[in-house]
């Protein structure tokens, strides 16, 4: 994308060090990055490359050790826990690798748990329709397949109409056929709602559906490239 469009996120020298008792792990080593509105970005990297850490910090789930993250000009690294909570509540949607649905709630209720607290959410059913799971609304997580659970998680993430959708290995626990269905759901949301979407994966093929692919290795960006022609998820095979 061009520098002329609006940057939703900007990071400068973002660094994260985990203190694991006797060892220190450098998860991020000075990341400089901009993410734009409506963009679909794929973060590629092997496990341990720092991509989850980056997304967690972008989403306000974790804090950086050094450097800055700006969300629409606001410095998240200086935000207090309460402000981060407000930020997540209003602007961020998350999709996790292991869905993290609440087992005691049905599909519809898992979406409602977000719409209950969001400012101008869509109806829970509407969100389920977007991921084509309206007919499973009354099923509990244990009655859904992995792909269906992940689509519920996507519905839950987008139901609040977030400014950004952060997906951490959304297909990581799924077979490729189901993975494609989940990616299709993400792609549709990005297209229809214009939500800035970041997908983390270690699957190079999935990069072909993105506008921009960012490669991470050992906590640093090693390469960025733009796709001239985005592929449809249905065209991907792995």
């Amino acid at each position: 994308m061009t520098d002329g469009s609006e940057a939703v996120f900007e990071t400068r020298g973002l660094t994260k060090i985990y203190d694991m008792g006797e060892v220190q792990v450098h998860a991020l080593r000075g990341i400089d990055l901009k993410l734009y509105r409506s963009e679909l970005v794929v973060l590629l990297g092997a496990s341990g490359s720092g991509k989850s850490t980056l997304v967690n910090i972008l989403g306000g789930l974790d804090t950086a050790t050094a450097g800055h993250v700006f969300y629409r000009g606001t410095d998240l690294t200086r935000a207090a826990d309460r402000e981060l909570t407000e930020y997540r509540r209003n602007y961020v949607g998350f999709v996790f690798q292991f869905y993290n649905l609440i087992p005691s709630l049905t599909a519809l209720e898992n979406v409602a748990i977000v719409t209950d607290i969001a400012k101008s959410p869509m109806k829970p059913m509407e969100a389920l329709e977007l991921v084509q799971l309206a007919d499973r609304a009354d099923h509990f997580p244990s009655q859904l397949s992995g792909g269906q659970q992940q689509r519920v998680a996507i519905a839950r993430a987008i139901a609040k109409r977030p400014a950004v959708l952060l997906c951490d290995e959304p297909t990581g626990a799924l077979d490729s056929k189901t993975g494609v269905v989940v990616l299709e759901a993400l792609e549709r949301v990005n297209r229809e709602l214009g939500t800035t979407t970041v997908i983390i994966t270690h699957n190079v093929v999935q990069g072909e559906m993105a506008e921009r692919v960012i490669h991470l290795k050992d906590g640093q960006i090693t390469e960025t490239h733009h796709n001239e022609h985005k592929k449809k998820p249905g065209e991907l095979t792995w």
Binding site: R88, R89, S104, L105, I113, V114, I117
Partner: protein
């Protein structure tokens, strides 16, 4: 309903097994507390309103004979409100079909209407009518014991004449809640009862027309009892009074108020411990339950739920459990309290019951359970909330374990892998482990204390009636009489041995302290009625000076070597200084003992005896009883077995029922602690255990890891519980001690064994319940999700 509340309801439903176990403990703790506290309050309130409604007197005095005119002067004494004069006499009774000696106290009542003080509650029939000399009203307990009904008759030897009396009423009186024969410690309704007769009939029989020998009075508001007694004593002394005394020295009141005080201590102290253990357990369970939800907490946070909202969610969840448990416990407590109060109503023969549950009791129960669960919830939620969501959402990192002390000492060869897992777990989570140990130990301690009371009573009976009072019967004479009476007794059929006794009423004084009692004189080395020391060895009776029981010495604040002033209150009244020469051990009642010779010198009436202790041949018992009853000189005959039974019926029974119920609840608490503890360990470690099953461990082997840990905790908790129980027993013995009773701390092996058995059974039951869950562990399901 909001989705998050739906989650709460579903979570509660899902955890119902465990919630039931937790609620069980709360219900047990709260209900035992509410039951006991409400029973205690109810009995106190009932007694107070009974006293007030039936005008129970504040003070009493008995005398030989005083003209009715004296009553007016008594009435004028400052501080006296109302005065009731009566005629009262102890007589021998004959009841058809009962061939044992029975005596009764006949008390006069007006022939028209109720007396001013000490009114009667008429259960059946009516009061006596004017001019009917053969009518009598019986105390209900006495009537019930002998199966006497309205219209039945009994014979009384009144002034040496046999009189047939007809029962026209069955009544209760606040004055005779317990009917205790003069000189006895406990009631024995088979052998002693109270009867009421018309005043003119009784006065005529005893030559008391226009006179009285018994007076009761109430105090004016603000009047000081001691000052009033001093003034009354001045007026009454010339008429043979043995001194006026207040309610606290009135035997029925004294017995019942001590009993109710003991109940009160037991009712608040011990159930509160049960409740505290329950609350403590609740706290642990809630904390661990919420720790298990750390990932869900993280997810809620990731979606933007505020910390407060998440914390509130869990607070609501535990409050639902705690308050539902507290409400159920209160309900059950009220129900049990009412049922138990009804039992006590029959036991004490109260005419009515004023059931009372004080709000502070309910609030304390709710606050303790609510508070415990709240702090548990908040602490646990706080810990989960402190973590950044990204971190909390990952399964908790493998906990840091290290080799245990056994392994560091080089003993690892002795330990197999599962045992190492058990030991490392215990060492790493030592706080959690110690809390569990304390919980189990508390339950064990309460059991020890409950059983301790059984041991105490057994020990008291062994010492009091096996070592000290070895006589089969105690006979007292109506008046001090010559020694030849003992020889006569020895010649009666069935008497193997008769030991003389000389006793007379005294007031013992040391400075401003005084105590109204009797001095008993024994032969120098008594065979039947012995005085024992603290080591339970019989003492020789010294030729001079007094032996006091330890509790009496404490009341009077005297020690051996010091002197006491003795005011002799038999016949002519005078004072003497007497040295204290030794202390005696006695668990029941107080005692002042001296040699018979010294006693006779002090009483100043030459060589006299007041009664005798008898050892008898049981084969001639009935014959002996008839012979004794026919002797007008014999005032009372008391059997040792009856004394023991009377003691067990009154003092022991109320306490034992109490401690039994308490032990029952302690058992429930023990079960609750153990079960919840294992159950939570299972949810915390199901992945680990399932992984081991996948790796090829058998069900038995993984059960060993989980239950082995619990076994270690239980085995550590039991001896700790023994120690805590011993302390608790000592504290309860100390706090229940009164002037009349003191309780030795006797803990027998059997008590510990039984307490340990109950705890082990509770542990075994929990193990079986959890073992069933372990067998159904979903191996694939547990391993499928998450890394």
């Amino acid at each position: 309903m909001k989705a998050i509340d739906t989650k709460m309801v579903r979570d509660l439903k899902h955890m119902r097994g465990q919630i039931i176990a937790i609620a069980f403990v709360i219900v047990a703790g709260v209900s035992v507390y509410v039951t006991m506290a409400s029973v205690s309050d109810t009995l106190q309130t009932t007694l107070q309103s009974y006293y007030a409604d039936y005008r129970f007197a504040d003070g009493f005095a008995s005398l030989r004979r005083a003209p009715q005119g004296l009553a007016e002067r008594l009435q004028e004494v400052p501080g006296v409100n109302q005065v009731q004069t009566r005629v009262s006499a102890v007589v021998n009774l004959e009841i058809a079909g009962f061939d044992q000696p029975v005596s009764g106290q006949i008390v006069s009542i007006p022939e028209a209407g109720q007396p001013v003080l000490n009114r009667l509650f008429i259960r059946e029939g009516r009061l006596v009518r004017h001019g009917r000399e053969d009518e009598v009203v019986l105390n209900e307990v006495f009537a019930e014991t002998h199966g006497l009904r309205l219209g039945d008759t009994l014979t009384a030897i009144i002034s040496g004449r046999r009189r047939t009396l007809t029962v026209v009423g069955i009544a209760l009186s606040p004055e005779f809640l317990y009917q205790v024969q003069p000189g006895m410690l406990f009631p024995d309704p088979e052998r002693f009862g109270v009867l009421w007769m018309g005043h003119s009939a009784l006065a005529a029989a005893y030559g008391m027309q226009g006179a009285f020998n018994d007076v009761s009075f109430t105090l004016a508001p603000g009047a000081r009892l001691q000052a009033v007694i001093e003034r009354l004593d001045l007026l009454l002394a010339p008429y043979g009074s043995q001194g006026a005394y207040g309610r606290q020295d009135q035997i029925s009141h004294n017995l019942i108020s001590e009993e109710l005080n003991q109940l009160e201590i037991m009712a608040f102290m011990l159930p509160l411990i049960v409740l505290a253990v329950a609350a403590f357990l609740l706290n642990i369970v809630v904390r661990r339950q919420i720790s298990l939800q750390r990932e869900q907490i993280a997810v809620l946070k990731a979606f933007g739920y505020r910390d407060l909202a998440v914390a509130l969610h869990y607070v609501k969840m535990v409050l639902v459990i705690a308050l539902a448990g507290a409400a159920l416990g209160t309900g059950l407590g009220v129900w049990m309290g009412r049922a138990m109060a009804e039992l006590y109503l029959e036991f004490f023969h109260f005419p009515f019951l004023v059931y009372r549950l004080d709000w502070p009791v309910v609030l304390t129960a709710a606050a303790l359970t609510g508070g415990a669960s709240l702090t548990g919830a908040v602490l646990a939620a706080q810990r989960a909330l402190r973590l950044p969501p990204a971190e909390a959402m990952r399964p908790a990192p493998p906990a840091t374990y290290r080799p245990t002390i056994f392994e560091r000492l080089g003993l690892q060869r002795l330990l197999d892998q599962p045992t190492r897992i058990i030991l490392r777990n215990l060492e790493r989570q030592w706080i959690k482990a110690s809390l569990t140990v304390v919980g189990i130990a508390s339950a064990c301690a309460i059991l020890v204390m409950g059983l301790f009371w059984g041991d105490v009573f057994e020990h008291i009976i062994q010492v009091q009636y096996g070592l000290a009072q070895r006589q089969d019967y105690t006979v007292t004479f109506a008046e001090p009489t010559s020694l030849s009476a003992i020889h006569e007794l020895r010649s009666l059929p069935g008497v193997l041995y008769a030991e003389p006794l000389r006793s007379f009423p005294v007031r013992l004084k040391n400075g401003h302290r005084s105590y109204h009692t009797v001095i008993e004189g024994f032969p120098p080395d008594p065979y039947l009625r012995r005085v024992i020391d603290a080591d339970l060895q019989p003492l020789s009776i010294p030729a001079e000076g007094l032996l006091l029981t330890q509790n009496l010495a404490d009341i009077l604040e005297v020690r051996p070597g010091e002197q006491l002033t003795v005011e002799v209150m038999e016949g002519r009244r005078y004072e003497r200084r007497v040295p204290i020469v030794g202390l005696a051990e006695q668990f029941l009642g107080v005692g002042a003992y001296m040699s018979m010779e010294a006693a006779n010198r002090l009483a100043g009436q030459g060589a006299a005896v007041s009664g005798a202790f008898l050892l008898i041949d049981e084969r001639h018992e009935a014959e002996l009883m008839r012979a004794l009853q026919n002797r007008p000189a014999v005032a009372s005959i008391v059997s040792r077995d009856r004394a023991i039974a009377a003691y067990m019926d009154t003092a022991a029974e109320t306490l034992l029922v109490f401690t039994f119920i308490l032990s029952l609840f302690a058992g429930v608490v023990a079960l609750g602690v153990v079960y919840n503890s294992v159950r939570i360990s299972l949810s915390e470690r199901d992945r680990e255990l399932a992984s081991m099953r996948v790796l090829g461990f058998t069900r038995g082997e993984i059960a060993y890891i989980l239950l082995g840990e619990m076994a270690v905790l239980v085995l550590v908790a039991i001896p700790l519980g023994f120690g805590m129980g011993a302390v608790l027993s000592a504290v309860s013995a100390e706090s229940l001690q009164t002037e009349m009773f003191h309780f030795p701390v006797i803990l027998r092996g059997g008590t510990f064994a039984l307490a340990a058995t109950v705890v082990l059974i509770a542990a075994l039951l929990s193990a079986l319940l959890v073992r069933r869950r372990l067998n159904r562990l979903d191996l694939v399901g547990v391993l499928k999700t998450r890394e």
